[in-house]
């Protein structure tokens, strides 16, 4: 077993365990902190696939922005942090069924995919950031999804300003 394999197994177990903790912990802030561990684990997977840019972007966006915003929102609603009620509702059986079906579907697709057994190409880590940048503005590659995402985010931004705008001062 190579060193990378050992690291992969440790990180995989830690990520899955933390993901389980996210849904079973009762304290909301602890949930958010476990979620951060999960996101960090995924960032490490990206790094191990020599996708350094994605790994760092994962940390910047998901931990640096989204998770902190999440914790902030939880802290502002002080009462709920101490809540001790059950984190399951009556639909938990259906939830398990749906998640199992989803898992089985993904599993079957991945097993039948030809790329699963081929070794990954040796990426030139120096050039990968520039490649991502070019791919995002290439019409044949990801220009359209990139622009759609940009417009969506811009709309969200304008929406946030509109909601927060104090009309009395104008």
């Amino acid at each position: 077993m190579s060193v990378e394999m050992i690291i992969f197994l440790i990180i995989a177990v830690a990520t899955l365990g933390s993901a389980l903790m996210v849904v079973t912990t009762k304290n909301l802030v602890h949930m958010a902190l476990w979620l951060i561990v999960v996101l960090l684990g995924i960032a490490i997977f990206f790094a191990m696939l020599s996708a350094g840019f994605l790994a760092v972007a994962q940390v910047v966006i998901y931990i640096g922005a989204i998770a902190i915003l999440l914790i902030f929102a939880i802290m502002l609603t002080q009462r709920t942090t101490q809540e001790a009620g059950s984190s399951f509702n009556s639909n938990w059986r259906w939830g398990i069924l749906v998640s199992l079906i989803l898992f089985a579907g993904l599993f079957i697709i991945l097993v039948n995919w030809s790329g699963i057994s081929t070794t990954p190409p040796n990426l030139d880590s120096r050039a990968s950031v520039a490649d991502i940048g070019v791919a995002l503005v290439e019409p044949n590659a990801f220009l359209l999804p990139f622009e759609f995402a940009s417009v969506l985010l811009l709309a969200a931004l304008i929406g946030a300003i509109y909601v927060a705008w104090d009309r009395r001062k104008v």
């Binding site: 190579s2 060193v3 902190l33 940390v59 640096g64 998770a67 902190i68 902030f72 802290m75 990968s128």
Partner: protein, 412 residues
């Protein structure tokens, strides 16, 4: 072999391979040894920083500073550490024990992690990753997280207030910081630290002074030092997020803050002051050591500037802090980014000479900065003019004939 540091690592790896260890394991052991050496080096520097900080603040305040133990009080930091170690370790009632104890560790770790990508010399650097600049931002967000954890887990309202302020400040100042970091990236054409250093035939601070200024200001805000020390403002929220921490746990926060200031110095030196570059770094044998020396010299220069600002300026008010960021620094950084990007592309395509390139870039920076300052000045003077006028009030007069109130607007 003319590089002593490389020779040592080669000798060590040969030694381990000679013992019959597999090459993968040798690489891991070498990596861990590198991490340990860097961390120990930086942490020993932090001990020294306590002394520097106390001496410099003393001179700024016309005092002598520690001078009793050892020559120039040099042994004082060790006395401080022993004092911190033997203090009672208190965990307050109702504190979230695990998160409470994890926060100071994360706070120091987030600072130490930045040193992984700082090149000490051409061959002496932890990880030569091509996304080093973005990595620095990512690690910074883990530092923010540690302060939030400390503030929340302490079960103290002042600590929580400190954490709220931290979120407002650090997330806001991250925006112009990232934009300012993009500007040297555009100039060097890479996000890797070693490429950025190699690209600096002339220090970037002379080509893009305004970007350097924005980076310095936003970094001071990220560390939470005066004038941006709202997160631990002792006169308002006692000590903010670390109010409940005692002994070495407080020591970790304190060391983290001091070290963060030096780390910002090292980052600034790497990005804008040419990093390890200086006379004689290509010499055999002593070259790498000279590189480390130059980097530390430049870092301490910036550290001194940060201390200078800290001990000369009063604390900024919280609404001013946010307004300064969102209404001045962020727009300025965005405009500067656009100007630099267009000029860079234009001048590289038209093959301008390097000297002309530097001169035009410098003046473009200065002009952008003064235009921004002028806008702010005009806005402020307009606001002041309006403040001088009596406020517009609505006077409700009762008309005796109709006997109904009718609003009349007047200027008196």
């Amino acid at each position: 072999m003319t590089n002593p540091l490389l020779s040592i690592s080669l000798w060590f790896s040969n030694l381990l391979t000679g013992w019959g260890l597999p090459s993968g394991l040798v690489a891991v052991i070498l990596g861990i040894a590198g991490v340990l050496i860097t961390c120990v080096f930086v942490l020993v520097l932090a001990v020294f920083l306590v002394w520097v900080e106390r001496k410099v603040v003393a001179r700024f305040q016309d005092r002598l500073g520690p001078n009793r133990i050892g020559p120039f009080g040099l042994i004082q930091p060790f006395a401080d550490i022993i004092k911190l170690l033997i203090k009672e370790d208190i965990t307050p009632n109702g504190a979230d024990r695990v998160v409470y104890n994890l926060a100071p560790i994360l706070a120091l770790a987030a600072v130490l992690l930045i040193w992984a990508v700082i090149p000490f010399a051409p061959s002496v650097l932890g990880a030569d990753v091509n996304i080093a600049v973005l990595y620095v931002v990512a690690v910074g967000s883990i530092g923010t997280l540690s302060i939030i954890m400390a503030g929340w887990a302490s079960n103290n309202k002042y600590a929580l207030l400190g954490a709220f302020r931290t979120v407002a400040q650090m997330i806001s100042y991250e925006v112009p910081m990232v934009i300012a970091l993009l500007i040297p990236v555009i100039l060097a054409g890479s996000m890797g630290m070693s490429e950025i250093v190699n690209d600096q035939k002339i220090w970037f601070v002379l080509i893009i002074p305004v970007a350097a200024f924005i980076f310095l200001v936003t970094s001071i805000a990220e560390i939470g030092r005066s004038p941006f020390d709202l997160i631990e403002a002792e006169s308002e929220i006692v000590a903010g997020f670390h109010i409940e921490y005692t002994g070495m746990k407080f020591g970790l926060f304190y060391a983290g803050e001091l070290l963060h200031a030096l780390t910002i110095g090292a980052l600034f030196a790497t990005l804008f002051l040419g990093g390890w570059k200086g006379p004689g770094v290509t010499l055999p044998y002593i070259g790498p050591f000279l590189g480390v020396f130059y980097l530390l010299l430049k870092s301490f220069l910036i550290y001194f500037v940060i201390m200078w600002i800290k001990y000369s300026l009063p604390r900024i008010r919280i609404d001013h802090m946010l307004a300064f960021n969102w209404k001045f620094l962020t727009p300025l950084a965005l405009v500067l980014l656009i100007v630099v990007a267009i000029l860079h592309k234009l001048m590289v395509t038209l093959e301008f000479s390097y000297i002309l390139y530097i001169v035009i870039m410098f003046f473009a920076n200065i002009v952008t900065f003064f235009m921004a300052l002028n806008l702010v000045k005009n806005y402020a003077s307009n606001t002041r003019k309006n403040l001088g006028k009596p406020p517009e009030v609505v006077v409700i007069q009762t008309n005796p004939k109709i006997d109904q109130p009718s609003p009349v607007t007047s200027n008196s």
